[in-house]
């Protein structure tokens, strides 16, 4: 257990932290004019971290660092690559977005970078302390990012709301962690696992439940989802795209690791909670979206809905289930980044954001390419074949059926039909209604590139990726189950 070995394993985070410190200096001395430079540097830092992570994934380097606080394995590498890609995509579309208000400052890429470090820690955490530090690092960055558009009242409100509720959730999580520590005698997953063997005492059970409640807030699963629509609506659109992608990957993979590794022997205790959260998220996410007139709020409910499907994979509690979650997450990240980028390309003649759904009427006649891309993304989110979003649902339900959760799968998929309604509504507004002629999208190159890649990914061509994606996710998932 030498120090160099630990540093080697944590190389992506170490590299990102050093880059973050350099960026801080750049931002401090360069001032506002260095924003572009800072963005480019942040993107290159993330690319660097991704290369390191891919190297670790390729060489199958895994092991525990710093006495079991941190673990690098295929699972964490997979999640980290996904997080870095999502962050890069969000960073790439941001500068153009803020051009009009002239609000873009070098702190933005910096915060994203620190958020990425926190998320990396979250997915690699094998100790409750590391988990909490990573979570807070990413959350604090997120709070500031949510209120980044300082002149916009809604943005400030979103940041405040996110902070207050996030702090509450962290409190609940900490309380659960303290109970778990009290009953297990350790904060390390490897120690909690044997301690929580056999029947679970009432106190320990409370600890598990409180921890899951806190985590459910972070992944915005029902019944801890209330903040999501408000924050997603208020935050600047590129930030919303970020919230819907990278932190979600981190929080979900972190939850998976905690439940499978630390509470692996208590699957009966958490499974019913996860099943409830999954079904409730699917139904509430679908029903809540129906009445929305703001596209960002609608996408917020859509993300709640999608988290429900991902949790079905967790409820299966098998290697196939975990692998299905990773596949779903990958597809989901692409779909949600793509949708939000399409949304941020919607601007009226004065260059203001168009967020009202009715203003998108007849988009297929005024901006056909944008409308088709958005239609593909929406139907993909609804999980209609032959679009690639179907594949995510397919693997998740396959895992559930293999784990003998047929009823859960049947209920979940039946509820997905409710969700299809509002995705179709977007299609209806764009394609069937008479043009409202509000949107004057003049997309920038970066936006079109990200949107184009996302659309190609969800198109039927995506199915050609099923083999490599399945193999990688399978390797990552089995790494999770090697412990104990």
């Amino acid at each position: 257990m030498d120090f160099a070995h630990s540093l080697g394993l944590t190389a992506p985070e170490v590299f990102l932290s050093l880059s973050g410190l350099v960026l801080t200096l750049v931002a401090a001395w360069g001032g506002r004019s260095s924003a572009r430079l800072a963005t480019v540097l942040a993107v290159s830092a993330l690319v660097g971290a991704m290369v390191i992570t891919l190297g670790q994934f390729g060489s199958d380097a895994n092991g525990e660092a710093f006495g079991g606080l941190y673990r690098a394995d295929a699972f964490s590498s997979f999640a980290k690559v996904l997080i870095y890609i999502a962050t890069i995509a969000c960073l790439a579309v941001t500068p153009k977005f803020f051009v009009r208000g002239n609000e873009y400052r070098p702190e933005y890429p910096l915060l994203m970078l620190f958020g990425a470090i926190g998320m990396g820690l979250m997915v690699s955490a094998t100790d409750l302390m590391t988990l909490y530090i990573g979570l807070e690092l990413s959350s604090l960055s997120s709070y500031v990012l949510a209120s980044f558009a300082r002149s916009d009242e809604r943005s400030a409100e979103a940041g405040l709301k996110y902070f207050v509720l996030g702090a509450l959730a962290s409190g609940i999580l900490l309380y659960g962690m303290s109970l778990v520590y009290g009953f297990a005698g350790s904060t390390s997953y490897t120690m909690i696992r044997p301690a929580f063997d056999g029947t679970l005492g009432m106190g320990a059970l409370f600890g598990v439940i409180f921890m899951l409640a806190g985590l459910a807030f972070k992944i915005s699963a029902v019944p801890f989802h209330m903040w999501t629509p408000d924050v997603y609506e208020g935050a600047p659109t590129p930030v919303t795209a970020f919230f819907a992608s990278a932190p979600k990957v981190a929080a979900i993979t972190m939850t998976t690791r905690v439940t499978i590794e630390a509470f692996g022997h208590q699957s009966d205790a958490w499974r019913q909670i996860v099943i409830f959260a999954a079904l409730a998220s699917i139904v509430v996410g679908a029903l809540g979206a129906i009445g929305q007139s703001n596209i960002k709020r609608l996408l917020a409910y859509s993300s709640i809905n999608n988290v429900g499907f991902i949790l079905i994979g967790l409820a299966a509690g098998t290697v196939a289930g975990a692998s299905a979650m990773l596949v779903y997450l990958t597809i989901y990240v692409v779909m949600s980044v793509g949708s939000f980028v399409a949304v941020l390309m919607l601007r009226d003649t004065d260059g203001n954001q168009v967020e009202t759904i009715s203003d998108m009427a007849g988009l297929s006649q005024t901006k056909p390419l944008l409308a088709w891309c958005l239609l593909f993304l929406m139907l993909s989110l609804a999980g209609i074949p032959p679009l690639f979003g179907f594949w995510g649902k397919f693997v998740v339900f396959q895992a559930a059926v293999q784990a003998n959760l047929v009823i859960l799968a049947a209920l979940g998929i039946a509820a997905s039909v409710i969700g299809a309604y509002y995705y179709l509504m977007i299609g209806k507004v764009m394609f069937f209604d008479e043009p409202a002629d509000v949107v004057q999208a003049k997309g920038d190159l970066q936006h079109w590139v990200v949107l184009g890649v996302a659309t190609l990914f969800v198109s039927p061509l995506g199915y050609l990726l099923t083999k490599p994606l399945g193999a990688l996710a399978g390797r990552a998932a089995s790494a999770l189950f090697q412990i104990g």
């Binding site: 297929s364 006649q365 139907l379 209609i384 074949p385 032959p386 179907f390 397919f394 693997v395 339900f397 396959q398 059926v401 293999q402 047929v406 799968a409 049947a410 998929i413 039946a414 997905s416 039909v417 299809a420 309604y421 179709l424 299609g427 209806k428 394609f431 069937f432 199915y463 050609l464 099923t466 083999k467 994606l469 399945g470 193999a471």
Partner: protein, 522 residues
């Protein structure tokens, strides 16, 4: 076909056509669409000519391990062959039908149709369970757009209803498919067709598949999406809907429910009978009181599909063959009837029956075609409708005379509503001046209706051409179903046969006969 991937080509041609249509203007889009569908028709003819009747059960098979979890596997038997030929036959006609009537967003319209064609061929030729599902479900998207963008006044409600209704039916089927694959360890449809699932599980699986196919079929009481969708869809959309999409339900029963779950099928046969009997009587009566031509034909479709379901669940060769012929015939006839409605709708822009009248005077050629298809829909001998309905009813008569009795009323009621429709549209006084001044069929309309009329007569006069390719497959299915087939209620008592035939001559020929006669005289 010596390794030429003809099925893949048939999928690819319309797909490429669709992509081209998306990016070109109205005029070239029409031409590209027509060309693509005609090429596919040529492939279809080639497919039929090269199909080896009595050869291997699955022909033109292709297989490529492209995806994780399922395969790209294609192949057809006689049943799929005929349905594919029906699809490619109707497609160019649909394009012609939309030639002038669709004026806005032509490129997207043609693209949706060509994409639809790819998916239909895919459904009938998929040999992998999940590949089938993807094609089956994907058909919702182009149809949703076709109804929603180019449909009538109430198109948005209809498009939603169509989409959500059919989606809810199919998602349950997906779970059943996942279970089946988990239990049997294969996604290969031919293998699954001979896999014996536990009887207990069959019940649930059958119900899940039923949920999907009953909606697609559509069976009473989940048929209500159909009249809405038909009425609101543009003419060509209705043709494809009635001609091919409804056949997916019947194809599903014949390909999945029956061979994969024979015991459950027998167990639930009564359910099918009850729903079918209800459908025949109720929807026929509803059709009788319609004022909207398309709605009338839509309800008649539900009644005809009910004959298909009873035929399928009669568990014998006649019933199964009859159902297939009814499906093919209905595909042609109802498609043609919708085209007939479209022809006059294009001229007067109303589907209200009362706005027409006496068309036989100013549009005699049109009236002739309309009469032919009306008669085919009723099931007049000599037309395709008769062959299928007769065989289906013979099949079900072996099982239950009551069901036959009630289903046969469908033919009488069918004659009633179709003749009533025809009388009001084509005969009588020319009360409406604008209807009386409409011109007769032009060349394009001849090209649409003529081929269908020929096919209807061909199928009516010499059905063997259509039954021969499916005979072996139906026999195989019948053999598989034999162990579960319900006993008939006819209780035929076979007496001991006479030693000699009733008209047999006594020994010795004429002389002997003469002797007996003389003996009798004594």
């Amino acid at each position: 076909m010596g390794g030429f991937p003809i099925l893949s080509m048939m999928l690819l041609v319309p797909f490429i056509g669709a992509v081209i249509c998306m990016f070109v203007d109205a005029k070239p889009a029409r031409q590209v669409a027509l060309a693509a569908t005609l090429i596919d028709l040529a492939f279809g003819v080639l497919l039929w000519l090269n199909y080896d009747i009595g050869g291997a059960q699955w022909q033109f098979t292709e297989r490529a391990p492209l995806f994780a979890g399922f395969n790209y596997a294609l192949g057809i038997d006689g049943i799929a062959l005929l349905l594919i030929v029906l699809s490619v036959f109707l497609m160019p006609i649909c394009i012609l039908a939309s030639w002038d009537s669709i004026q806005k967003r032509v490129g997207e319209y043609m693209a949706a149709f060509l994409f639809m064609e790819t998916l239909m061929i895919g459904v009938f030729s998929a040999q992998d369970l999940f590949l089938f599902y993807i094609f089956f479900e994907a058909g919702l998207i182009p149809m949703y757009l076709i109804i929603g963008i180019w449909g009538g006044a109430n198109r948005i409600y209809a498009s939603y209803k169509f989409f959500l209704y059919t989606l809810l039916g199919s998602v349950v089927m997906l779970i059943a498919m996942l279970w089946m694959v988990n239990a049997s360890g294969t996604t290969d449809i031919p293998t699954l067709m001979n896999y014996d699932f536990p009887v207990q599980a069959q019940t649930w699986l059958w119900l899940a598949f039923f949920a999907s196919f009953a909606v697609k079929m559509p069976m009473w009481p989940v048929h209500t999406w159909l009249p809405d969708a038909h009425v609101q869809a543009p003419t060509a959309g209705s043709v494809i809907l009635a001609g091919v999409l409804l056949k997916m339900g019947g194809y599903g029963f014949i390909r999945f429910s029956l061979p994969m779950f024979p015991e459950a099928s027998a167990h639930f046969a009564w359910l099918i009978y009850i729903l079918s009997m209800a459908a025949v009587v109720i929807t026929s009566l509803i059709a009788l009181v319609q004022h909207d031509m398309k709605k009338l034909i839509a309800y008649s479709s539900v009644a005809h599909m009910a004959i298909v379901t009873v035929g399928l669940f009669s568990f014998n060769q006649q019933g199964l063959e009859g159902s297939m012929v009814v499906m093919l015939s209905h595909g042609l006839v109802s498609g043609a009837l919708f085209l007939c409605v479209g022809v006059i709708y294009d001229r007067l822009h109303t589907r209200e029956i009362d706005r027409y009248g006496g068309l036989a005077i100013n549009m005699p050629k049109y009236a002739l075609f309309f009469l032919l298809f009306t008669m085919a829909s009723i099931g007049l001998p000599g037309t395709s409708g008769f062959v299928g309905e007769f065989l289906s009813l013979v099949g079900i008569y072996k099982v239950s005379s009551l069901v036959t009795l009630i289903c046969t009323t469908g033919i009488i009621l069918g004659a009633a509503y179709m003749l009533y429709l025809y009388r009001r549209v084509a005969f009588g006084e020319q009360t409406n001046a604008d209807a009386a001044s409409m011109v007769d069929l032009d060349l394009r309309e001849w090209l649409m209706l003529g081929p269908i009329a020929l096919a209807v007569l061909w199928m009516g006069v010499y059905p063997e051409s259509f039954i021969a390719p499916i005979r072996q497959d139906i026999a195989a299915l019948d053999a598989r179903l034999a162990r579960a087939a319900p006993a008939g209620d006819a209780r035929i008592v076979t007496g001991t046969p006479r030693a000699k035939a009733a008209n047999s001559m006594p020994e010795g020929g004429h002389s002997a006969k003469a002797e007996t006669v003389t003996e009798g005289k004594h």
